[in-house]
Amino acid sequence: METTKETIKHVMSVIGINGDSKFMWDPENETEVAAARAQFDALKKKGYLAYKVEGEKGKKGELLREFDPTSGRIIMAPAVAGG
């Protein structure tokens, strides 16, 4: 979570070829939550896996099936393949 102008921003990091891009929302702001949810759903349709990663550094992530606006940090990982 990042604090900006006294509001708590939750962050979704989307991994891509240029590193990750960040998408933020304020869980109290319905418009931002709706935009974040739309982004989440669009990526899930593309095969991304979503992980909720909170708490102490390095703590194991949790697989997210649906968007949870209360998640402080989400990592969207692109679809994988066996090499």
């Binding site: 991994i15 240029n18 990750d20 550094k57 992530g61 994988v80 393949a81 090499g83």
Partner: protein, 208 residues
């Protein structure tokens, strides 16, 4: 492989090449030249002589001297470039260099961004191992209570290893994002998946 100088006595008729004794289709002319059939003119000697010998070869009744034929094929006529063409070539080269430099810059930035993200999601111990050795370890616990130890090495493919407590590799796994993301992002994806969805990881990964 056709030379119009007539040195080798071949000519084309309706999609087929004909030497003095045999009608050869396009597909087998190379084979005929390079495999000896015991014919009178030793086809298999022609190519080596063209390419490196100072001797002469005879195919049918045509004499090939040294490697003249090959040289003729590969030597370009003197290239005359006008000042205008030279300037255009210089601009094309310069643009290509700029584009390559930009791609390199973006790649370096992406690598740095990915490494920051990876380090943010490693424990202090994992961070230390990663900085020193370019790898880190993690443990998983299956539903039936079995503990496994994995090592994720820097890289994109075949970089996940199941190891024992002495770091002996028991198995290698190859699994990575379909997109060409930076290596550090690949390692983070592998870590997250192993910890949160190990059965899925093992189902998709190629193991060796």
């Amino acid at each position: 492989m056709w030379h119009t100088g007539g040195l080798i006595g071949l000519s084309a008729f309706g999609g087929k090449y004909v030497d003095n004794s045999t009608c050869l289709t396009v597909g087998n002319i190379w084979t005929n030249w390079n495999i000896g059939y015991g014919t009178a003119y030793s086809k298999n000697s022609v190519w080596p002589i063209w390419c490196g010998s100072t001797a002469t070869a005879t195919t049918a009744n045509i004499i090939i001297t040294n490697n003249v034929v090959w040289d003729t094929w590969v030597t370009l006529a003197p290239c005359v470039v006008t000042a205008e063409q030279a300037e255009r070539n210089r601009k094309v080269d310069e643009e290509a260099r700029k584009q390559q430099a930009e791609r390199d810059r973006l790649r370096r930035e992406a690598d740095a961004t990915a490494e920051r993200l990876l380090l943010e999601h490693l424990t202090p111990e994992q961070q230390e191992t990663y900085k020193q050795r370019g790898c880190f370890y993690l443990k998983t616990h299956s539903a039936d209570g079995i503990e496994k130890r994995y090592r994720i090495d820097r890289g994109r493919s075949r970089n996940v290893r199941l190891v024992d407590e002495r770091d002996q590799v028991l198995r290698n796994y190859c699994i990575h994002p379909r997109e060409m993301v930076p290596d550090a992002d690949t390692m983070l994806v592998q870590k997250l998946m192993l910890e949160a969805a190990e059965p899925e990881f093992l189902r998709i990964a190629n193991a060796s």
